[in-house]
């Protein structure tokens, strides 16, 4: 179920600011209260796919005294895509919740 939404989740994880792969995975784990405890490597195909689509940009950065990392950032198109996907998800989740018997009447 998560697979179809991974790209959106990665976009959301980068909304707060640029981050590297390890930090993105940690944000997803913490943000989902460890519900999404997916193999860490699965985030990299999503990151590269989103970058190819122009929704992310990336660059190598070396913090003083730290390890060299590739930082990913949302592009303007990425921020727009995230807003669109958030709206679509809101409608979808509300509809599913209603159909499963736990929500308000749909359509609202």
């Amino acid at each position: 179920m998560l697979k179809g939404h991974l790209d959106t989740i990665v976009l959301a994880a980068l909304e707060a600011g640029p981050a590297h792969g390890y930090a993105i995975i940690e944000t997803i784990k913490r943000g989902s209260s460890h519900t999404f405890d997916l193999p860490e490597g699965t985030v990299y195909p999503a990151l590269h796919r989103l970058e190819d689509a122009g929704l992310l940009s990336s660059a190598w950065m070396t913090p003083p005294g730290g390890r060299r990392r590739r930082l990913y950032s949302l592009t303007k198109a990425g921020a727009t895509a995230l807003a669109d996907r958030r709206k679509a998800w809101g409608r979808f989740s509300q509809a599913v919740e209603t159909l499963l018997g736990g929500g308000r009447a749909w359509p609202a």
């Binding site: 590297h20 390890y22 193999p39 490597g41 195909p45 796919r49 190819d52 390890r67 990392r69 590739r70």
Partner: protein, 205 residues
């Protein structure tokens, strides 16, 4: 246990050999990620921490298979764009040849003219059907490539009968179509390699 991260990164590079630049970049990223995970391990840096970091990351083959599947879409898109460009340039070159050869046509070049025209038409028709119905498939691209190559070869053979008097724009158009058919072949081979690699990675999972 020492060197487990190095071994993992080397395995990932091997599995991504269909795209060397991606393999290099990802190897660097994954290595940084795994060392970061080792440093964050409560037990500190140790072979066991390396083992846990690698286990949490997932199987190298599965990661590579996801990249391979994405690479097919990218390569297919590039190959279809290259096919469209090759068709356009071949059409222009063919028209230029026809305009120039109109007065010089001989019975000897009639067969070449037929191949030039109908192999091109067959390639375009296959390309249209392939684009709408089999975009991720190699077969229509291979047929288009064969049709265009036959058309170009026949066209050049036909013009070659009068090569001494060929105007510059006809020669340049012919050079353009030869260059593009070479690039198209390279792209089709690249797609074949990626499809083959993806199938191998998936069957090994």
């Amino acid at each position: 246990m020492a060197g487990m991260i190095d071994e993992y990164v080397a395995a990932l590079r091997r599995d991504l050999d269909f795209d060397p630049p991606l393999a290099r970049r990802l190897a660097d990223e994954v290595e940084a990620h795994l060392w970061e995970a080792v440093e964050a391990d409560p037990a500190g840096s140790s072979p066991e921490a390396e083992q846990r970091a690698v286990a949490r990351f997932g199987l190298a083959r599965e990661i590579a298979a996801q990249f391979a599947a994405d690479a097919i879409d990218r390569q297919a898109r590039r190959t279809w764009m290259m096919l469209a460009a090759t068709i356009a340039v071949t059409f222009v070159a063919m028209r230029l040849r026809v305009l120039w050869l109109d007065d010089l046509e001989t019975a000897m070049s009639a067969l070449a003219a037929l191949i030039d025209r109908y192999a091109f038409v067959a390639a375009v028709a296959t390309g249209i059907v392939g684009w709408f119905a089999f975009r991720r498939s190699l077969a229509p691209l291979a047929i288009c490539l064969g049709g265009l190559a036959a058309s170009i070869a026949a066209g050049i053979a036909r013009a070659g009968l009068f090569a001494d008097g060929a105007p510059l724009h006809v020669l340049l158009a012919a050079a353009g179509e030869v260059a593009l058919i070479g690039l198209l072949s390279w792209h089709v081979l690249g797609l074949h390699r990626r499809l083959h690699r993806t199938a191998a990675l998936r069957s090994a999972r």
